[in-house]
Symmetry: C2
Subunit: 500 residues, 2 copies
């Protein structure tokens, strides 16, 4: 059975158990793992490493593509294996440790995260763990449901442990497009000129001698959470679709739009599924993750081509797609994350980028990462890779949450990941603010009027008009600028007067 | 005399006076002008427009490449001509009006500023005023000491007024490399693969029928201010040169370094001139402006090639360079600002970027634009075009100023233009903090220890350790985070205890 997945016969003798693989790690090693938005991650070896650490403690620096599934980050955290972690995570246990200052987390642009390795800023990668669909005759690794940073990890690592996932259908072979732009000073042009341009090979070339062990697994990816559309997400999607129709009427866009990127989550999914109805056609995606909505759009005949670094879908969608993969295969391509998120390509293609904000301030600065300005949620991910270089950079958020106790439109963002210079459009369920070509004072009026929740609008207007008395290009009253956040901490609500 | 500068004979009849040109403008027009870091700007027409407005008031939206010289922005402001202004300025009178909310200013990445025109987000450009060295046989415009946004302006405008500057030697012909990547969805690869790659033509192609008038001028560019090196700039340059030597020893760089970018100002100049001594050789620049130091490095045989969008030098340097231009010509190329500042090229080349910060916070966020969080200084300029995509993103600032009353290392930046994700190195006269691969808590310790002024170090340490008690990935005490700025406003100093 596994023979057909290890086409280089001499490597078949390197099959080991996950426990044997875990014994290859040493304290203070730099370890890299495949895995991007829970897809194509290590299913066995990292967990076995956590188990081993119970008996034989060790600490590592762990690099990945993006988030891991199956609670692996939490299991490693609980086993005290993680010393340093980059570039992204979504695990509640790890998140707690990061916020307690126990695990050092480096929150990085996903499109740049391989560069610290290339540039030898962090110590050499000792071991890379890479999930594979199969190994080719020359030893090349064919990835599974994500590519992530695996090409960079495989190139940099001293040793590679391959996890061959027998549950992933071999029909995936051919969807990957592995291209490495090379290291400075010899970096090459990334010649992607539309979402579907193929510029590389189907597998990651390696020196087969680096393969220190092959572990067989059959666990599927953690399924993406299904978030049912609700009134708010429907309203946000509605505002955006109305906006796109307006742009088409103004001659700035056509019904083909431009290559779409959307972050993970229910709003993004709702917007993307909104394209199924209406006159949009021949759409493309140049994104970092393909979600359920990607395949709904293919089913509807609306999406010609989806390019991303991973496929992260619900269980139902997983079975629908992988049991009929020949239908979807011509429409998708999986790329390394420094290509899916490349500034060069995003700018060239004129991507329309839709990402979720934790909060936005009245001048258009966006906090994508920190709750209350201090506590890490997940990380910046690819949001600024796209927002910085997109044709249209859109951020969505609900206007308020926790029964109105939190306003997501605030006087000053408590942390800033996407600056006023990179934010074109803000949308909440209340409405949409098109900030392009506007000065800060114009932006504030529009964001407050169109996006803020009614119960915070008056106080935002008060803040803004008082700040204008103090003057400045970007009027603020610094002594009050973060008072909404401290009020929430003290009173459990950002509201000025707690309702009776 | 002017005949040889207007090679298309039929255009010679379109010579008019600046006053006649000024009469072509109408109220509420969108006007675009050449000019980048005071080089190659309109010398006559915009001033004549201000004079006309005294009798016949009108207001315009004014777009430029970057800053204008000769006080033109101030003169236009005083004449109440400016309604909206983008993307950058350095004029004290205009600055005051922006901060008073009288002129609406859009502070934009210089590398992206042409896109609002292409994408029809702002109304069509009615008139472009472009300084020229000469007009070619086909009517093409050869720019002078800057290219800036002139190709985009010329393409977009209904009418063009050309200012032929007779004082600029015709020997400049040939240094420009005009390339337009095209508009979405048909944007092309920008095939620059080293600082000197030429990809375009020597002049800006236009429809000669658009030329509504030609004005002859002979005023030279406003000279760059000469800032003598002082102990602080010398110390900052010294720390950086030591750092580069360390990187070379670690095998991350060679003495050729990588293409250099440096912002305007005395620190940047001091660093660049520091390369004259030492073992650096075969250097290149991929920057937005060439300054005195560029030509000192060429004189010293250290710089092979300088690429930028403008030449902005002191009066002495101007004469040295333009009186011996054949010597310098093979070493320089002037590009449109969407090419000099292109994310694609900056990333491909692995630029080493050096820019000045107004303030940095202890986690590495940089304020490049706002004094006290509210008042615009100049604008973000190209700082984030480079910092976001550079191989090494370096920010320099003095640790304190105003006789110690202001600390440039603060608990939380009062405005953020370059986020923690994009800042690799911070340098003050006290030392250098290499933030690469560090988590926020590690960064804070290093920035406080290496960069802060001694008189603020204890309070920064207190702030940080108190904040750590509150917890979080990025520990802050929000109620105190901006208190240094409010204290300065109230007491005239950020110091906790005013010394007796």
């Amino acid at each position: 059975m596994y023979n057909e997945r290890i086409k280089r016969a001499e490597l078949q003798s390197r099959i080991i158990t996950a426990t044997q693989a875990a014994a290859l790690f040493r304290d203070q090693m730099v370890v890299a793992s495949s895995g991007f938005t829970k897809a194509g991650d290590s299913k066995a070896v990292l967990k076995a490493l956590a188990a081993r650490a119970q008996e034989d403690p060790l600490q590592i620096t762990l690099l990945t593509g993006a988030s891991l599934g199956h609670g692996t980050d939490g299991i490693l955290t609980t086993a005290h294996v993680l010393k340093k972690r980059m570039p992204f995570q979504v695990d509640p246990i790890l998140r707690q440790s990061i916020n307690d200052g126990e695990v050092l987390f480096i929150d990085q642009h996903l499109g740049e995260s391989a560069e610290l390795i290339h540039e030898k800023v962090i110590p050499k990668v000792d071991i890379a763990v890479i999930e594979a669909l199969m190994l080719e005759e020359d030893g090349s690794i064919v990835p599974t449901t994500s590519v992530g940073n695996s090409p960079a990890f495989a190139a940099a690592a001293d040793k590679i442990i391959v996890e061959i996932n027998m549950s992933v259908p071999v029909s995936l072979h051919g969807i990957h497009d592995i291209f490495m732009a090379g290291n400075w000073p010899n970096r090459q042009i990334i010649p992607v000129t539309d979402a579907g341009t193929r510029i590389g090979s189907h597998a990651i070339k390696i020196d087969p001698e680096k393969i220190a062990g092959i572990v067989l697994t059959e666990t599927t990816d953690s399924p993406a959470q299904i978030n049912e559309r609700d009134d708010k997400t429907r309203a946000i999607a509605g505002h955006l679709l109305t906006f796109f129709e307006r742009e088409i009427r103004l001659g700035r866009l056509t019904h083909r739009l431009r290559p779409l990127q959307s972050g993970i989550g229910k709003v993004a999914n709702a917007v993307m599924e909104g394209f199924i109805d209406g006159n949009f056609h021949d759409l493309t995606m140049y994104s970092e993750v393909m979600q359920d909505s990607t395949f709904s759009l293919i089913d509807a005949g609306k999406l010609l081509l989806g390019s991303a670094s991973s496929i992260t879908v619900s269980e139902a969608c997983y079975h629908r797609v992988f049991n009929n993969f020949e239908k979807y295969k011509p429409h998708i391509v999986l790329r390394p994350q420094d290509i899916s998120n490349a500034a060069e390509v995003i700018r060239r293609l004129g991507v329309i980028s839709i990402n979720t904000a934790i909060e936005c301030d009245i001048y258009g600065n966006v906090n994508s990462t920190h709750i209350g300005g201090t506590h890490m949620m997940n990380g910046i991910g690819g949001s600024n890779d796209f927002a910085r270089n997109a044709y249209l950079s859109i951020f969505v958020t609900q206007s308020s949450s926790k029964a109105g106790a939190i306003s997501h439109i605030v006087p000053m963002a408590s942390h800033i990941d996407n600056t006023e210079h990179d934010v074109d459009i803000i949308v909440t369920e209340n409405g949409l603010a098109d900030l392009r070509g506007l000065a800060p004072r114009e932006r504030a009026k529009l964001i407050i009027a169109n996006c803020a929740h009614a119960s915070y609008r008056d106080e935002l207007n008060d803040y803004f008009s008082n700040a204008c008395k103090t003057g400045g290009h970007t009027p603020h009253r610094l002594q009050e600028a973060l008072s909404w956040h401290t009020r929430f901490k003290d009173n459990g609500t950002m509201l000025r007067t707690v309702p009776l």
